[in-house]
């Protein structure tokens, strides 16, 4: 029965990635290699990030929101953007269109993130007897994260790869990208400083991801 619960949570956490891959033209153009490369880049980025966090951040003694520490954390968070930049521009991809490239990179990135951050807790926690909503929430969070990452990759590809950018959109793009990159800090702020409960935070994340999707859709087409 608890294996059942683990199975459910795993579906919720990793299912959307698979569905995204198989439902969109990504599968038709066989972009798996790109996603795998992006995932490898993610691993490298995560390592660098860990080293940076370990070097520059103090271990928080309490659960309060410390602006200085959070600012540092947000800055370290921008390493993610650098990693994405690398994955989008420097890697030699097979000849796929820009449109598919950013999706494949975003997907690989988000999947690697899910595996790295959520698989182990899921395996350890969701198989226990105690029922909590935590792992279902975590799965929902993974969904929101997928959308956010793909949007960030889309914005990145708009910024770095497209040559003829519409002038008026540039500040909006940069603003959106900035917001997306600082998303972890924003959620952390909500959680600690405003004392939001996890469900509320996840709700916010989902909501913002949907919002984001809509704006992206409007701005791109």
């Amino acid at each position: 029965m608890t294996i059942f619960h683990f199975f459910n949570c795993a579906i919720l956490t990793f299912g959307p990635h698979a569905v995204y891959y198989s439902a969109t033209p990504l599968s038709e153009y066989d972009t798996l290699g790109t996603s795998v490369k992006a995932a490898v880049v993610y691993l490298g980025t995560a390592l660098i990030k860990l080293v940076c966090i370990a070097t520059f951040l103090k271990v928080p003694e309490n659960d309060n929101f410390d602006p200085y520490q959070e600012l540092l954390k947000a800055l370290i968070g921008f390493i993610d953007v650098a990693g994405l930049y690398f994955a989008l521009t420097q890697l030699t991809h097979r000849n796929i269109s820009q449109n598919h490239k950013f999706q494949a990179v975003g997907l690989g990135w988000a999947f690697a993130d899910s595996v790295l951050h959520r698989l182990a807790p899921l395996w350890v926690g969701a198989r226990g007897l105690e029922f909590t909503w935590e792992y279902i929430l975590q799965g929902l969070e993974a969904n929101a994260n997928l959308v956010l990452t793909v949007s960030l990759a889309a914005l990145g590809s708009l910024m770095w790869l497209r040559k003829n950018k519409p002038r008026t959109l540039i500040p909006i793009i940069y603003l959106c990208a900035g917001i997306l990159a600082t998303m972890p800090s924003i959620t952390s702020y909500l959680r600690r400083s405003l004392g939001w409960q996890p469900p509320k935070v996840v709700g916010f994340e989902l909501f913002s991801s949907l919002e984001d999707l809509l704006t992206l859709r409007c701005s791109s087409g």
Partner: protein, 564 residues
Amino acid sequence: MATRKEGQVEVLQTLYSMLALVFVLVACVELGDAATVVDVYRLIQYDLAGVPFGSRLAALNHHAGSLPFTPGTDLSRTVIIMPIREVNITFLREYTTNKKHLGGLLLLLPRASSDGSTEETKDADEVPVVGLFRNVLAELEQLLVHATVPYPVYFAFEDPSLDAVLADVKKNDALGQPATATTGGYKFVVPSPEPKKISSPMMTNIQGWLPGLKGEGDSNQLPTIAIVASYDTFGAAPALSVGSDSNGSGIVTLLEIARLFTRLYSNPKTRGRYNLLFGLTSGGPYNYNGTLKWLRSFDQRLRESIDYAICLNSIGSWSDDLWLHVSKPPENAYIKQVYESLSNVAEELGFRINIKHKKINISNPRVAWEHEQFSRLRVTAATLSELSSAPELLENAGGLADSRRFVDESAVVRSVKLVAESLARHIYGQQGKNIQVFADGSSLAVNPSYIRLWLDLLSRTPRVAPFLSKNDPFVSALKKELAEHTVEVSVQHEVLDGMFTFYDLTKAKLNIYQVASVTFDLLLLLVLGSYLILLFSFLVITTRGLDDLISIFRRPPSRKVKTA
């Protein structure tokens, strides 16, 4: 373009439904909470002459339920939580006598009853309620100890987390709902190995001497007076059997008497012509097995030198009269002398002592009083107790009901005065004279705070002999205390023999999990499946168009046609 528009509309609709779903999920979320771990104390498990008694299992893994149940419900997979304040003895009796199977039983003891704290009950209303509990507890204990229970039985103290669980379980049982994640089903798990037999349980007897003053050239051995109390307990939950009255009060009285007499005996002028022998014996609940071994270890001359022995048993919660239990007829000269000496002092102190004669049946293995072991070896002895009749086997041995709050310090103080005073008069040959050796306010006064401290300590220390190891800190503490007041202290380790076999595992940790039911998991799977299908359709429609989605479902038959 038209399909694109349609797609957009559909997108918005799916978005709305998704949002609705998300909000519904978010609304449910607050209910989850973490696993709780509670200390629980297992019902004793023992064999009496090969016949199994007590709880025969230790491991527990079942859902929780609470009373009342509709008759005929299958409870073989339910752990019943039963607070003592609403315990249903008839239900339990029915279940144990008919050998019906339960998943398990968790009895919740009121927190204060075994607190061991010195706090007096502040509310006057509380006292009768507590008294009621005491009777219920005693009855329950006797029922459980003398029954064979084929399922695990645990005791726990009420605490906020358990109360919350109980309230939740009750609410659900009242509604008749099955346990689900949203309505709070609880699973009780005690991970525990099979209970093992305790091989050769040890008993430890402690004795101390206060040698009397021998006259010049007096070659005869001095007569000896023995004061004896058995210190171990027996109860439904070995880890909770502190026995404040039986026989904590006896131990305290003995220690205090030793303390008083050591002051007299340390000065050669007041050193009496009697040896005093203090004995703390083990194995009391098991027909005073320890006392028997202890007496047998004496050599014949020593045994014959014992003038008389006074055994102290349950003298901590009486008000007007005490009982002197003897096994020789009261007309016997030695018995008469002991009784008169005690009752004279009692009269002066303002209470009464009754004498009760109970003959020993040598063929009966049951030894109801400690003095009977002395009498069987032809030593004059009597037991001083507040109980008017002999307890049955394993009854009144310091179980759950016997807690600190039922022991009255002033009763113990009066007992000490009684015994010490009568001893002093006997030793110094002042029988029948109204003198007070241990008068209040004098340097030889009884020390109530000493008594209180020892009573508190004893009321916190479970002392079921098979579960006390040889070098148990409690035994060492008793030995050390006796060594403070007496001269030659020796410790005797003996194997508890007889018909008893005990099993280990007296304490455990109970894990309480809030679990989701299978239906909830199925429902969740359904929701997730439909979510993924919706997501798939949505993505296919937005990126490739509606026709592609339809064609996905059409493709397999067309391929078949091709291969054919």
